[in-house]
Subunit: 400 residues, 2 copies
C-alpha cells in the first residue's frame, strides 16, 4: 500500500542532469512569478465572490440621519417618564415605520405593542422609553468615508447588502485570471477517456479563473507546443501531459525552447514530473503531468495557487484543515513530499490512511475525506500522532 521505489527513480534519476526541486522551492517560484491582477469595474449584482481591488467607502453617514428601528410611535423620551399600565401617559407622538427618519424633536420610538393611538398627534404609553431607544443612530453602521469593505476582501453575502445600502452600484474587482489549457500529451490513452480536462475546468472556475483557450496541441509534437506556448495570450498557461522522461515527452523541452524552463521535477508525490517556467511572452507556465492523480495535485499545489494569487484570493489550498489523530501508522518516503489520502477512522477525530494515489488513482480522493501532506524530511506518523488533515469540501470532522 505504500510507496514503492519506482517514483523515487522517476523523481531522482530521470532528471539527474538537474537536482529535483523541493516543494517549498517550487511554491516560492509560483509566488514570485504571480501577483494580484489589476481591478476592473464590476456591477455589484455580479460581484459575489469577487475580490475587491480597492477599498469601498461610505460616501455619507449610514444611516444618514436618525431613523426608527421598528414600527411604532416616535416620542420625546423624557415625556414618557412615569408611564405604566396603571398610569398610561398621553404624549405627543408620530406614527413611524421602521426606517423612517425620526421626526424633529423626537428621540425614541415606542413599539406598537407598548402604546396605542391617543388621539390626533398623541399616543398613550404604558411604559417609559429611554432616549435613543429603538433608534438607528446616524452613522452607527458607518461614518462618512468609513471603509465598508477593504481592498482584498472577497465579497460575500453581507458585503453585497452593505454596499448596496451605501448606494454603491459598481465595484473595482480584481480581474479574473485568464487561463490557457494546452493538451500536450496523449489525451486519454488506449480508449480511456481524458480525466484531466473535466478536472481542470472545474478547478479553474472554483479558483476564480476563466478558461480562455483550450487547445489540443498536435500530439507529442515539440515544435507545435513551442509555437503554441510562444503566442498563448493569457495570464497563465497550463500544459497537460508530456512531462515525463519518455522519448516522446516534449513539454519541458518545448517550454525551454519557447521561453524558460525554470524547474522540472519536484519532490512531490503525486506530481513529481511537474515543470514550471515562462512562455516567450513572459507568462507563467505550469507543466502538469498527464497521469490524473499527478495532474490533480500538481494543479492544486502549483497551478491553482498561481490562479488564486492572480485572482487576489487566499493562495493556500482551498480546503480547510484541522488537527486529528492518526488511527493507524502513516508511512511516507523520506525525500519526497507525499499527499497521503485519508478517511475518517472509526473513532471521532481520527483518520486512517487509504491506499496511495499511485495504487488506486483518483479513488484515493473520491473515497476519502481528506489528505495529509507529509514533508520531505518526514518518514510519516506513528499511530496516535496528532496530524493536520486537509478536509475535502462538505466534510466536517468532529474535533471536539
Amino acid at each position: 500500500m505504500l510507496p514503492v521505489r519506482r517514483s523515487d527513480r522517476v523523481g531522482v534519476e530521470v532528471f539527474s542532469d538537474r537536482p529535483i526541486a523541493a516543494l517549498a522551492e517550487a511554491v516560492a517560484w509560483i509566488d514570485a512569478a504571480t501577483f494580484r491582477l489589476p481591478g476592473e469595474p464590476v456591477p455589484l449584482g455580479e460581484a459575489a465572490g469577487r475580490v475587491l481591488a480597492a477599498d469601498c467607502r461610505a460616501e455619507h453617514a449610514m444611516p444618514d440621519r436618525d431613523r426608527a428601528a421598528l414600527d411604532g410611535f416616535a416620542v420625546e423620551a423624557q415625556r414618557s417618564v412615569g408611564a405604566s399600565a396603571y398610569n398610561p401617559l398621553a404624549v405627543p407622538a408620530a406614527a413611524v415605520a421602521a426606517g423612517d427618519p425620526l421626526p424633529a424633536g423626537m428621540d425614541a420610538v415606542v413599539p406598537l405593542a407598548a402604546a396605542e393611538p391617543g388621539g390626533p398627534g398623541n399616543a398613550l404609553l404604558v411604559e417609559p422609553v429611554a432616549p435613543s431607544e429603538n433608534i438607528e443612530r446616524q452613522g452607527a453602521v458607518a461614518a462618512p468615508d468609513a471603509i465598508l469593505a477593504a481592498a482584498g476582501t472577497r465579497l460575500a453575502v453581507p458585503h453585497l447588502g452593505l454596499l448596496a445600502a451605501a448606494g454603491i452600484a459598481e465595484v473595482a474587482a480584481v480581474r479574473q485570471p485568464r487561463v490557457a489549457i494546452l493538451l500536450a500529451g496523449p489525451v486519454g490513452s488506449q480508449g480511456v477517456p481524458d480525466s484531466n480536462r473535466p478536472m481542470l475546468r472545474a478547478a479553474v472556475v472554483r479558483d476564480g479563473g476563466i478558461i480562455v483557450a483550450e487547445e489540443l496541441v498536435a500530439e507529442r509534437s515539440r515544435p507545435a507546443l513551442a509555437a503554441t506556448l510562444a503566442v498563448a495570450a493569457s495570464d497563465i498557461a497550463l500544459v497537460v501531459g508530456g512531462t515525463g522522461a519518455g522519448t516522446d515527452d516534449h513539454a519541458a523541452a518545448a517550454l525551454a525552447e519557447a521561453g524558460e524552463l525554470a524547474l522540472h521535477g519536484i519532490a512531490l508525490r503525486p506530481g513529481e514530473t511537474t515543470g514550471l517556467g515562462r512562455s516567450g511572452a513572459g507568462i507563467p507556465v505550469v507543466l502538469l503531468p498527464g497521469a490524473p492523480p499527478a495532474c490533480l495535485w500538481s494543479y492544486e499545489l502549483f497551478a491553482g495557487r498561481a490562479i488564486r494569487r492572480l485572482a487576489g484570493r487566499d493562495p493556500s489550498l482551498p480546503f480547510r484543515h484541522c488537527r486529528m489523530t492518526a488511527a493507524r501508522k502513516i508511512v511516507s518516503m523520506v525525500g519526497m513530499t507525499e499527499i497521503c489520502p485519508v478517511r475518517f477512522g472509526g473513532a471521532p477525530g481520527t483518520v486512517e490512511p487509504l491506499p496511495a494515489f499511485a495504487e488506486i488513482g483518483l479513488t484515493a480522493a473520491t473515497a476519502g475525506d481528506g489528505f495529509i501532506i507529509i514533508p520531505e524530511a518526514s518518514e510519516g506518523h506513528p499511530q496516535g500522532a496528532s496530524v493536520i488533515v486537509h478536509l475535502y469540501e462538505d466534510r466536517e470532522a468532529e474535533t471536539g
Copy 2:
C-alpha cells in the same frame, strides 16, 4: 451594545395571539416541509458542485486491463533476478508508455532510468524488478459495477476526473431548486437603496438554487401579495418585508389568505418576525423580515436551509465552525436565540464580541470574522469560555 428590550417586546408581545416559536421548532418545520428534489440529466462538464441523484457506477473494471504506470520497458520480472550495475542483464523487453496495456507475458515495468535498450526486443537491466512493479492492475481503481460516486455526493474536482475516466458523459443530478422572490415590503426606504435583493440573489446561488422570479408586489398590498403567492410557480417562495406588526405589514395575513401561515414570530434575534407557511399550491414560503440583518439571518437559518435541503446539500449553515475561547464576556438574552457577531481577539484562538446587528447593522457581519449562536436558554458565555464559532468564508482560525 447588548440587546435592549425592544426586540423582546416585538418578539413576545406583538404576536401574543400565538406563542412565538423556538428556533428548533422553526427548523423542524423547514425540515418537514422540504426534501431532496428529483434528478435530472446533466452533462458531466456542467456537473461541478451538483449533487448526484443516483449512484454512478463503473461499467467495466478500471483500468480494464493491466497497464504500464510509467514510461519504460515491460519485462517478465523473474528474468530480472540478479541484475545490478555490475551485472547488467539483457532480457526480452517491450518499450511502453504510461497507460499502455501490458504486453502478453510481461508482468512488470522497468523505468527508463533503470534500463537501456539492449538490441531488438531486449533491454539491459541494472536492477531487479518485482512482479507487478510499476503496473496499474486491472480493477485497482474500480471493480466492475463498483460505485464511483454515491447518490448524495456533491461532485468536486476529483469526482469529475474519475467519472470522465469511466466514460460517463452525463449524470443524474438533483434538480436545482427554483426560488421565487417576492418583495412585499417597501423596497429600500426613504432613499436608502435595497440591501436585501443583492444579498438574497448571491445567497440563493451560493446554496445551489436558481431564482426563477423576482417580483415587486404592489407595495404593502395584501390582496396583491396573496394573489401572487397563490400562483407562484417555484419550489420555494421567499417573501421579503412586511412581516412586522405595523398596520401596513401584510405578509403574514396574505400568506394565511393564500395558503397556510404555519409560524409567525420566532425567538431569534435578528429575525424575530420571520414567518413560515405554504402557498395555496403547497410550496413552502418563508416570510423574511425587511430589515437587512434580520433578512440575512432569517435567510441563513430558514430559507437557505430549505434551499440546501431541496438541492440535496448539507442543510446546515454553510460556514465551518470550530471551538475557540471567548476573550471577553458575551451576553445574550434568555428566551431568544441570538446570533452574536464576533471577531478574532488579540490572542490566537480567541474571539471577542462585536456590537449587535441591531446596533451596527450588516457591519456586524462585514467587520467580523464569524458568529456564535447562543441558544434561548443561555444568558451567554463568561470570559474564558470555550465557544463554537462559525467562521465566515475565507477565515481561518488558529486553533492549535
